[in-house]
């Protein structure tokens, strides 16, 4: 990246003896939407709060627009932030909430009013200016919070799990809206979430965090299809893991439940007799043999869930159970539990987890 807009360099943060963020590095380009994805306690919110200035890093530096902001207070950083709990000021109307940052910045009244109206239009709530936060639904409150954060035209937008408190339907529509507004305004954005679907669907890049470290940084496609660690593979998406033993390292032959598959070029220096965890996404596995799939394993149908357009099938392969989805076809009945079957996949889709 030529000139990153946000640069986080060697940041560490400890609370007492507990290291919450361990040597975190990230460069974010101007206008980019980057998500911090990880389970609770992985340090993603702490990292966001360090960027915002609410926490001081134990070591490392944060640069915004080429300027070192590590020592600056939150009110000196010119950053917008949306909180999980909305954090609208209950004593102020919607318009006053949106105009809060503008008033603090000393913007003339007429100019501020115009900006407030513009923001209300952007979030599609043009007639809500006189209402109080308690008169709004959760989704509306979060849109107002977004407008409030964007009104002073911040350099950087931070979103701290803004959709977590909302119901599923609102969450879906609001995430599309947030992304559309972010693209329209071209504002560099950091989005913290523990919801992989949100991260995958909204982000230009995802940072998967685990125990205070960035396990992998990449596009949603890379993170999903080419996870670099076992943690990323397990955390992002559904994964079937089969245990195999290398029978011939030179030819890349691996034995799974007394059947052999070829994984040439994927064994990464492992030798015969080593055991491996082989991961496959459900969509990479087909029920029965299929043209283009070079690997087959036999198993037994363990479970069948009819979900309408999709049938979720679980197949027992030795000690492991593999989950896969097939499309429903009105002309062929779903598989029967206990039936012997074959599953097939392309060896190119197998992820070898070291």
């Amino acid at each position: 990246m030529a000139d990153p807009f946000l640069s986080i360099q060697n940041v560490k943060k400890s609370f007492g003896n507990v290291a919450v963020v361990k040597d975190f590095n990230l460069d974010v380009g101007a206008g980019e939407f980057v998500s911090f994805l990880g389970p609770s306690g992985c340090g993603k919110t702490t990292m966001l709060r360090i960027v915002a200035g609410f926490e001081e890093p134990s070591a490392g530096k944060v640069f915004v627009g080429g300027k070192d902001v590590t020592g600056l207070k939150p009110n000196q950083r010119h950053i917008g932030m949306v909180f999980q709990a909305y954090a609208l000021f209950p004593n102020l109307t919607v318009a006053q909430n949106i105009g809060f940052g503008l008033k603090v910045a000393g913007m003339p009244r007429a100019e501020a009013d115009a900006r407030i109206a513009e923001m209300l239009n952007i979030i599609k709530l043009p007639d809500f200016g006189d209402r109080y936060p308690y008169q709004l639904s959760g989704g509306q409150q979060q849109r107002i919070a977004l407008a409030r954060a964007l009104a002073p035209k911040p350099k950087l937008l931070l979103l701290d799990e803004p959709l977590s408190a909302l119901d599923a339907k609102v969450r879906l529509s609001l995430r599309e809206e947030i992304r559309a507004i972010q693209k329209k305004l071209g504002i560099t954005t950091i989005f913290v979430t523990h919801d992989q679907e949100e991260a995958l669907s909204m982000s230009d890049r995802i940072v998967v965090m685990n125990e205070g470290r960035a396990d992998q940084t990449g596009t949603p496609f890379e993170i999903y299809n080419r996870p670099s660690t076992k943690f990323v593979a397990n955390f992002v998406g559904t994964l079937n893991v089969l245990e195999g033993t290398i029978s011939d390292a030179a030819s890349g032959t691996v034995t799974i439940n007394a059947e052999e598959i070829g994984l040439k070029g994927k064994l990464n220096g492992s030798k015969a007799g080593d055991t491996l965890s082989l991961a496959l996404r459900p969509e990479a596995i087909s029920l029965g043999r299929k043209a283009g799939n070079d690997s087959n394993l036999t198993g037994q149908i363990a479970d069948v869930h009819f979900l309408g357009s999709v049938i979720r099938v679980r197949v027992g392969v030795g000690q492991s159970v593999v989950s896969l989805d097939t499309f429903n076809s009105p002309n062929s009945p779903p598989p029967v539990v206990g039936e012997k079957t074959e599953i097939s996949f392309s060896s190119g889709d197998v992820l070898v987890l070291h």
Partner: protein, 263 residues
């Protein structure tokens, strides 16, 4: 069910009688100044007394300054304790409770030792200096009520997130307290203010021993030397206190509503 209701009403009636009978009796007695007929003569005498007007005006002025001092002292302290030093809360709560167990006379003797005419800080040498000490003393006496009222108000809002939301929008500490925190705990602050007012209006010990022309010593003086006027003053004092309580109740309706607790 019906028996339970009967006992509930009986207890309520006894409580009401316990509270109202002395009050009604005092009021009835205050109307007997003119022989043979009920009249408001005692009230006319009391309200027409220049000392009543002077002492009452003095105490109201002192109460206003006490409230201002209390708000300036308690709101930032309670806010900071909630925001940054929650571990110190039990200590601060204990300190704010001390005025309930340490008699006011201790404060007075402390004042005399520390700020007497011969001390390096001779506040008691002038009337204004003594007034200032009186205000500080009253703020201390009202601390348990003011602190609790404000702390309860702060408990109803998400202090940390609101503070951070204001900070990230560019606000400094003064703006945060004045525009975000104080308006959201205003009703709690007003509750504390009216309790302070009620305490200051009737306080005797501090004002008397510091020899200030306050309403408390005037009440005591009238009570010791007159028959009907003390009863009229007691009713007036009750009316003032009840007035304060009513204002708190009315203002509570205008409290900013939280989105999470709309009612």
């Amino acid at each position: 069910m019906k028996t339970g209701r009967f006992w509930a009403w009986l207890v309520f009636a006894i409580g009401t009688a316990y509270f109202f009978i002395p009050l009604i009796a005092t009021f009835e007695f205050s109307l007997r100044m003119r022989r043979g007929v009920y009249s408001f003569d005692a009230y006319r005498v009391v309200l027409g007394d220049s000392r009543f007007q002077e002492t009452f005006a003095y105490s109201v002025t002192v109460a206003v300054f006490t409230i201002l001092l209390g708000v300036l002292l308690v709101v930032p302290t309670a806010y900071w304790i909630r925001l940054r030093m929650p571990h110190l809360r039990p200590v601060v709560e204990f300190i704010t409770l001390l005025p309930l167990v340490i008699p006011a006379i201790v404060i007075v003797f402390g004042y005399i030792r520390m700020y007497g005419s011969n001390s390096p800080l001779p506040f008691l040498g002038t009337a204004r200096g003594t007034d200032a000490l009186l205000v500080i003393g009253y703020a201390t006496l009202a601390l348990p009520y003011m602190y609790r009222a404000v702390d309860t108000g702060l408990r109803t809002i998400d202090v940390r997130t609101l503070t951070e939301a204001a900070q990230i929008l560019g606000a400094g500490w003064t703006t945060i307290i004045a525009r975000v925190i104080l308006p959201n705990v205003l009703i709690a602050v007003l509750s504390g203010a009216f309790l302070t007012f009620a305490i200051v209006i009737g306080e005797f010990t501090l004002a008397s021993l510091l020899n200030r022309p306050a309403f408390g010593p005037y009440l005591q003086n009238i009570g010791a030397n007159r028959a009907y006027e003390p009863a009229a003053l007691a009713v007036i004092a009750f009316a003032i206190t009840w007035g304060c309580m009513s204002v708190i109740q009315i203002l509570a309706r205008f409290a900013p509503k939280s989105a999470n607790r709309p009612n």
